[in-house]
Amino acid sequence: MSNPSKPVPRAGASGPLDVRIDSKVYRAADGTRLTAIDALAFTAAAGSFTALIGPSGSGKTTTLRIILGLDADYAGHVVLPRPDARVAAVFQEPRLLPWRSVEENVRLALPPDRIGAELGPLFDTLGLADHRTRYPGELSLGLARRAALARAFAVEPDVLLLDEPFVSLDEMTAGRLRVLLAEVWAARPTTALMVTHNLREAVELADRILFLTERPARLRGSVELATPRSGRDAAWREARLREIDAAFPGIL
């Protein structure tokens, strides 16, 4: 198994992902203001996997949308690893085009230099090989999530953002998908930021976990997980979970 803590260097120097949101205020139609994010700053090293954990409504999706460039109405800055960095996202819902097959959905997302790319190994890894020609409406949620993952990895992004990618799946399916995610990510490590409510998930996948406060979001603290993923057995995970629960009560 490859060692995920030693990322394969990418062509074209890649820096860290630098995020600093001094404030994000939503204005409702009736004029009321809602401060979603107060002060949130972090950097993610190139090729590292960061998990973002926070209470519901604390501004996690908002943070990802700002990094994705979908929301420019905030104070602060986002510096991507390189000026024209390629960003991919796995949204909270799969967001596939229902009128295009799984393969078409993935291919449509490919940037010009990857058109016609060989996708066989990726589909194989994710167990989608038999579903390439099917429409999203014919897929279970678990399969649709995999297709969304395939799309994100197929573009070979510099930054990968995942917004609770395994939410509302049964624990077994979610567990299998986590293993798949770890696998495709290890094959080509990319700077990843994953929002999750699931501390176990974070302990399994991440190099670092960031904890957010209640809304308006601030950084509550962070935990480094230096052990390579291959060395994270059940005992190790339980020990980390207990440590984290002691340091940040109420999350587990």
Binding site: L68, G69, L70, V87, A88, A89, F91, E93, R95, L97, P98, W99, R100, L108, A109, P111, Y135, G137, E138, R151, V155
Partner: protein
């Protein structure tokens, strides 16, 4: 790839076809009986109508006038769908433009077809362009309203996905926007064809020297009901053929992703 329809749909189509035929046969029968009882020149039996239709078919007159009307309907349809879709999508996506032009739209929706036709002939002359333009203008507000509704209903989640993956304009239009608008385009074209040919007849009656409308006016002056019915039914038949052979298969193709059972 064969088209697999969900069972409910198949059943609906399968069982309704004989019933439709039966119902139409009953209508012809009622007509025949009424004509026999009335025994009048103004209510000819189906056989008399068929006779006129066959005679005009042999002389080539019927196909010629049908073709002229069909040509006008076809061109007006293309113009109305293109202009109406573009304007409708623009208004659906741009709230300011929508607020500015909404009153115009309401106004045009309420101008009677006859007024538009008459004004078109007065302003642009008794020519083909004015005729086709007048037919199209009658339909455009309708298309705008339908497509505006469709553009408003576009899923922002998919647009965001497309932005993240940097879809270009054409890719966005072809793979994200148009498939979502397809049901609205289908609705607009359906109601469009039905409306267009009725207006086309008025246009021909008022200012053209050929077409189904012109012929009906001619037969009206002769008080020849068989002729009127022959031309009307022939054209209705053609519109039904277009619906069954063109519109429905196209629609089935466009929605095949939805019809396949999970």
């Amino acid at each position: 790839m064969p088209l697999v329809m969900p069972r409910s749909r198949q059943q609906r189509h399968g069982s309704s076809a004989p019933l439709t035929l039966l119902s139409l046969a009953a209508l012809v029968l009622v007509w025949w009986a009424a004509a026999a009882i009335a025994h009048s020149r103004v209510l000819p039996p189906p056989s008399a109508v068929l006779e006129v239709a066959l005679a005009d078919l042999r002389s080539g007159e019927l196909p010629f006038h049908l073709a002229m009307t069909l040509m006008r309907v076809g061109l007006a349809f293309a113009v109305a769908m293109t202009v109406g879709s573009a304007a409708g999508i623009a208004l659906g996506l741009n709230r300011t433009a929508d607020r500015i032009f909404d009153p115009w739209l309401i106004l045009f929706l309420n101008v009677p077809a006859l007024v538009i036709v008459v004004l078109a002939y007065i302003w642009f002359g008794l020519n083909e362009a004015a005729a086709i333009g007048a037919i199209a203008v009658n339909k455009i507000p309708n298309v705008i309203v339908t497509l505006r509704e469709g553009a408003r209903a576009l899923d922002p989640a998919l647009s965001e996905m497309a932005r993240v993956y940097r879809f270009g304009r054409m890719k966005m239009l072809r793979h994200v926007v148009l498939p979502q608008l397809q049901p609205y385009v289908a609705a607009a074209s359906r109601s469009g064809l039905a409306l267009l040919w009725k207006i086309a007849l008025v246009v021909e009656l008022l200012g053209r020297s050929n077409g189904v409308g012109f012929q009906i006016n001619l037969y009206f002056q002769l008080f020849d009901v068989a002729g009127i019915l022959a031309y009307t039914l022939a054209f209705v038949g053609i519109m039904l053929l277009i619906e069954f052979l063109l519109v429905q298969p196209l629609e089935a193709r466009a929605t095949r992703w939805r019809l396949r059972p999970a």
